[in-house]
């Protein structure tokens, strides 16, 4: 049977498109278009009866420039940055250690790091309340160790929020660092050492630069969910430590002020994108997300 190779090629191409179109349309409809709608809503008006009129206004953005929202935005950025830095300091030695372990232990140790991440986020965050409440386990241990006097309140502070973030997002930092440490050829380290470099010099001149892609990826993977976090400040921070996510929740689900909420979420998206892009441009030239 003679067939035109061109038409056969086109048929094959067509098949490829047919297979990709359903997912593409699904994501376009329920993911991309809704984001465009948020953008449009952020310029719309709401009257005192809560009715939304589609007239162009920048009022929602001006409302975000008020001290209350500006403070929240700065608090959010501070908490997210601090959480990222703590995850890096705490996570780097873990990723490094596992990356240089024998293969048979590596899988087990990495699995132990990932398991908490699979478990319910709500349950994990809730579990911290019992540890750090006034009569909680942590204060009980302190009493056993001989610390007497007033039991400190660990919850509803910036450090309980940061702890909650680090507790939940540490695996996101460890995995990419582990991936880049595991790829690092130990012979480089041996070479540097045999040429007379001190262990500290080897670390700063060889190990650290070669694991940078993992550090960059890990920082992005921790920073982004932290900036948009709702549950951790809600349960461990309280109103005093509310972040953008908590305000979005209230504005949308309690107040129903969609235009204001849309403007705030556009600010959030722009901040995240801007920080990520600048970060990649100036620091992280090679980002390996590790998946």
């Amino acid at each position: 049977m003679l067939s035109d190779p061109n038409s056969k090629l086109n048929l094959k191409k067509l098949k490829g498109y047919l297979l990709i179109v359903p997912t593409f349309v699904f994501e376009l409809l329920f993911f991309i278009i809704p984001l465009i709608i948020v953008f449009a809503y952020s310029f719309s008006k709401i009257d005192s009866f809560g009715r939304i009129t589609y007239e162009f206004t920048l009022q929602n953005y001006f409302n975000i420039l008020t001290p209350e929202f500006t403070k929240t935005i700065l608090r959010t950025l501070a908490v997210a940055s601090l959480s990222t830095v703590f995850c890096l300091i705490l996570g780097y030695p873990i990723g490094y250690y596992i990356g240089f372990k024998e293969k048979k232990y590596q899988n087990l140790l990495i699995m132990l790091i990932i398991i908490p991440f699979w478990l319910s986020f709500v349950a994990r965050t809730y579990s911290i309340i019992s540890i750090f409440s006034t009569n909680g386990i942590f204060n009980q241990i302190l009493t056993l160790l001989g610390f007497v006097g007033d039991k400190p309140q660990w919850l509803y502070n910036w450090y309980s929020v940061v702890f909650g973030m680090v507790y939940n997002y540490l695996p996101m930092m460890v995995l990419p660092i582990y991936a880049s440490a595991e790829k690092l050829n130990p012979q480089y380290l041996e070479a540097a050492q045999s040429l007379g470099a001190s262990p500290i010099k080897v670390f700063f001149k060889v190990t650290l630069p070669l694991t940078m892609p993992g550090i960059f990826a890990g920082s992005i993977l921790v920073f982004i969910p932290s900036v948009g976090e709702f549950l951790v400040p809600e349960l461990l921070g309280g109103i005093e430590w509310y972040m953008i996510g908590n305000h979005l929740w209230i504005i949308f689900l309690a107040m129903g002020n969609y235009p204001l909420g849309s403007a705030l979420s556009i600010v959030l998206i722009v901040l995240v994108l801007l920080i990520t892009v600048l970060y990649i441009k100036y620091f992280a030239r090679e980002v390996e997300l590790g998946f």
């Binding site: 490829g16 990709i20 329920f30 991309i32 699979w118 349950a123 409440s133």
Partner: protein
């Protein structure tokens, strides 16, 4: 020097594991804490041990709203993972096997959920539903979950497709099998573990999600994470520990099976 450093790192790792697992272990432990009767009501502590008891689990069994929430979460999780399995598999197959234009655009769409916070996705979907007058309920949550769960199946299946031996397919074709037969009898069985692993992971992500479900729910549909959240807001209790323990067991088991399948093959 190096040995001391190694020992130090090992000790550090053990401390980190204790910090990671102790809160979860304590949560599970206190779900078995005995309560006391106060003012005609049973109350219990989540921090002071009174004795072993199954009373909170007994209470759960007799609370209809828990069963409703568990049912909703299960239905949402199952349908979400089925949608993700189908869409994730066919799109991965198309991108690896066919020369489609706009491949990069598709990858970007799959990656965007990683670079924008989940809460903005959730509220944008709510606005979409409101704008088009779509009735909120189970369906709207399922759609919301599928938009981010497809990526789990997509990633796993794409990885499997990229490093597998195509000569098996060629053999089937040259032995006279139709392309459809080849796909169902050869390709699909090889991909099956990957699809299953991805779908299980998609189920756990859907099952544990609070944010998207809260924004896209309607007419009193409540999921298990939403129920736990609303109960925490009205005060801690061993009863919450018991519900949380059940969700930990369900998602932990499924995620472990998923991991086991994908690491074995």
């Amino acid at each position: 020097m190096k040995r001391i450093f190694d020992k130090f790192l090992k000790a550090y790792l053990i401390i980190i594991f204790i910090i990671l697992y102790a809160p979860i272990a304590i949560l599970v432990l206190f779900s078995f804490n005995e309560g006391i009767t106060m003012g005609g009501r049973r109350i219990g502590s989540t921090v002071i041990w009174k004795g072993f008891s199954l009373e909170w689990y007994d209470k759960l069994l007799r609370t209809p709203e828990i069963w409703t929430a568990l049912g909703n979460s299960t239905i949402i999780g199952v349908i979400t993972s089925l949608i993700s399995a189908v869409l994730g598999t066919i799109s991965a197959y198309a991108l690896v096997r066919y020369d489609v234009k706009g491949r990069n655009l598709f990858y970007i769409i799959m990656l965007v959920p990683i670079i924008i916070p989940e809460i903005t996705e959730a509220l944008s979907l709510l606005l979409f539903y409101v704008l088009f007058n779509i009735k909120l309920g189970l369906n709207t949550i399922i759609i919301g979950h599928a938009t981010f769960c497809i990526a789990y199946v997509f990633t796993v299946v794409r990885a499997r497709l990229s490093d597998y031996d195509r000569s098996l397919e060629e053999a089937a074709l040259s032995l006279g099998a139709t392309p459809f037969q080849t796909f169902t009898k050869v390709t699909l069985p090889i991909l099956a573990p990957g699809i299953l692993a991805g779908s299980l992971l998609a189920f756990t992500q859907s099952f544990d999600d609070l944010i998207k479900a809260s924004f896209t729910t309607g007419s009193g549909v409540i999921t298990l994470p939403m129920l736990i959240f609303s109960k925490i807001k009205s005060g801690v209790s061993p009863e919450i520990n018991a519900i949380a323990t059940i969700t930990l067991i369900i998602s932990g088991t499924l995620a472990f099976i998923s991991y086991w399948i994908s690491s074995r093959s």
